[in-house]
């Protein structure tokens, strides 16, 4: 049966939740709580504890859909929100406030899960390490090294292709999450680095001046330095995984809401090394398991 996920949000907040909701509700139907009420809903995503408090009575009375009270994911933005959401029996909490999230945060709890505001679906964008970029350039007959300046004026598909193939790239603020996700050795300006909390020489190189030619020269120098490119690429991706990923939290929320089964041991191990769900290796592992479980392989 196709699961139904309802969004319970004020008009002002609904828009900001749509990207995350589309991941949480993928494979299911997404509806508005206001139109459907609780009928037939399997899970609810609430924009804040206030909204959760409003719908709580209806939730408690609702035993439709799967014959159970719908599970609830609630966004929180403060320690008070977190406590309130817990009090209202939220199944799982998430936040876009980085300082609040994770076991190292002030709450010392696994929750709330971090769903960053400028997040990116890392499941769609596997990292491409510099050596693999070199092979891809060779395959496509592109020059080596390939140094590019990529900004948001380019069509989205063109940007991702460029950032996937570049030896090094000068990137603007809008495309920085994508560059970090793809592990592109990247040069940014001071403002972009500062906004994302990036450190010069760790995840990116920061051009000291606004002079674009200086940034280009820095990228050209970077492209010839294999060791530095490899290190920047690795750390850029880790930064994206820790601070920008929305796919991982979405999957965790889906599991908490009962929309996705708990992963098998082999799935957990594949996840640990960030193996894409669509990869040949994931299929191969599932096929091997299917031989034992007598279930059809994927």
């Amino acid at each position: 049966m196709t699961p139904v996920v309802a969004l319970a949000a004020t008009a002002g907040e609904a828009r900001s939740l749509v990207p995350f909701l589309s991941l949480v509700g993928s494979g299911g139907r997404i509806v508005s709580w206001h139109r459907r009420g609780a009928a037939g809903v399997d899970a609810v995503v609430a924009s804040d504890p206030g909204m959760l408090a409003q719908i709580a009575p209806a939730l408690a009375e609702s035993k439709v859909g799967r014959g159970e009270v719908p599970t609830v994911a609630c966004r929180v933005r403060s320690a008070g929100d977190f406590a309130a959401a817990r009090e209202l029996s939220a199944t799982v909490t998430f936040t876009d406030v980085a300082e609040l999230a994770g076991p190292d945060g002030p709450l010392g709890d696994v929750e709330p899960l971090l769903v960053p505001e400028h997040g990116i679906d890392l499941g769609r964008y596997p990292v491409i390490p510099p050596l693999s970029r070199q092979r891809m350039r060779e395959a496509h007959g592109l020059p080596d090294p390939l140094v590019l300046a990529v900004d948001a004026s380019a069509p989205p598909r063109s940007s991702s292709t460029s950032l996937a193939l570049a030896s090094a790239a000068v990137v603007d603020l809008a495309l920085l999450p994508l560059a970090l996700a793809l592990g592109t050795p990247t040069v940014v300006d001071v403002d972009a680095a500062s906004r994302f909390g990036l450190t010069d020489g760790v995840e990116v190189l920061v051009a000291a001046t606004a002079d674009l030619n200086a940034a280009d020269r820095l990228a050209a120098t970077l492209a010839r330095d294999e060791e530095r490119c490899a290190a920047l690429s690795r750390r850029a991706r880790r930064f994206a995984e820790r601070h920008l990923d929305v796919a991982g939290p979405a999957s965790a929320v889906r599991r908490a809401l009962g929309l996705e089964p708990e992963p098998s041991l082999i799935d957990l191990r594949l996840e640990e090394v960030r193996t894409p769900e669509w990869s040949r290796l994931t299929d191969r592992a599932h096929h091997a398991l299917a031989l034992f479980t007598m279930e059809p392989s994927r």
Binding site: R269, V273, R274
Partner: protein, 340 residues
């Protein structure tokens, strides 16, 4: 401490790595640790390449310390994983483009290559400390994975038996190596043919190129001067090292190269090539040996020089022996277990 030394082995193939594992386990036990070698079978063809990696991810490893030594043993999942790497999967790194690498530039190869490099980075990054058998292997990891590692050198096999001869010049030139393409034994034969001095030579070892090399020796008129004994027992090999004027060892981009260290322990200089990788961490031109450009002419010139000048050969050999004097398994064990 309970220590597991983890390696991956293609069944029925055995070489330097298996020897290294055995020596490390012995050394750990000799230092009072409980140590076992753990191996998972692997296949190096691209389609099955990841299977052993996944297996390592799943097997329980109940020990206080896990030491993986090769790809993909470092996919082992353990809180105290300290790799001491002989090599990563070379076909995907330094050997890209070589005839024996099955990573092409087709879409499937590119996908697998991307996945392999990413997996490698993640699995190796899990380790709190990383060591490699040589600077070359550490450099590759730094260049392609963006990860630091420290070279940790080991004594070669037969280290306790290899000693310099008491007096006199050597009576032959020795090249002990597996007879495989990456070891370039043909370079040795070509060099001998171009020499002015008609010195006897021994090309010791087995491998897929044996027949081809015999034909090369015949073709170059070296029959009767070059001995191809195949496998040589340890005692005989020690004697061959002891009596050698020079040892030739010129593989392509070698990871480490026990042969170099064995020659040095026997007080014999090594002639190598400028692209021989880890060998060059030990062979310093005109200090512990001679570095050539790999052509027959330069190889021959280097060998003629050592034959013509026994004092030079002796001086380089002595310097080589001093260079390897401090290598010990005790140091390797103390470093890997994290003892001060």
């Amino acid at each position: 401490m309970d220590v597991l030394v983890c390696s991956t082995q293609v069944p029925f193939m055995s070489g330097g790595l298996e020897l290294m594992v055995s020596n490390l386990v012995d050394a750990l036990r000799g230092s009072g640790h409980r140590a076992e070698a753990v191996s998972v079978p692997a296949a190096w063809d691209r389609v099955r390449l990841f299977d052993a990696a996944m297996a390592w991810r799943l097997v329980p490893l109940d020990a206080e310390l896990v030491i993986p030594v090769n790809f993909p043993a470092y996919f082992a999942r353990h809180h105290n994983k300290v790799p001491w790497l002989a090599h990563q999967h070379r076909a995907a790194y330094d050997a890209l483009g070589q005839p024996w690498s099955d990573f092409g530039v087709d879409t499937a190869s590119l996908d697998d290559h991307r996945q392999l490099v990413d997996w490698d980075i993640r699995a190796l990054a899990e380790a709190p400390r990383r060591y490699t058998i040589s600077g070359v292997v550490a450099d590759r990891m730094r260049r392609w994975c963006g990860l630091d590692a420290t070279p940790l050198y080991q004594p070669p096999p037969l280290a306790d038996q290899l000693k310099p001869r008491a007096t006199g010049a050597g009576d032959h030139i020795l090249c002990p190596t597996r007879l495989e393409g990456n070891k370039r034994p043909g370079m040795f034969v070509d060099g001998l043919a171009a020499m002015r001095n008609r010195v006897p030579a021994v090309l010791a070892g087995r491998g897929s190129l044996a027949g081809e090399l015999e034909a090369q020796v015949d073709r170059l008129g070296l029959d009767g001067r070059v001995d191809l004994p195949g496998f040589v027992p340890d005692d005989d090999l020690v004697d061959l090292f002891r009596r050698a004027t020079a040892v030739v060892y010129s593989p392509f981009d070698e990871d480490y190269g026990f042969v170099t260290l064995q020659a040095f322990l026997a007080g014999v200089p090594v002639v190598t090539a400028a692209d021989s990788g880890g060998v060059l961490e030990w062979v310093e031109h005109e200090v512990t040996g001679l570095v050539t450009d790999g052509t027959a002419e330069s190889m021959a010139a280097a060998l003629d020089r050592l034959v013509d000048d026994p004092e030079l050969a002796s001086r380089l050999g002595r310097a080589g022996r001093e260079r390897v004097a401090d290598l010990s398994w005790d140091h390797v064990v103390r470093t890997l277990v994290g003892a001060r």
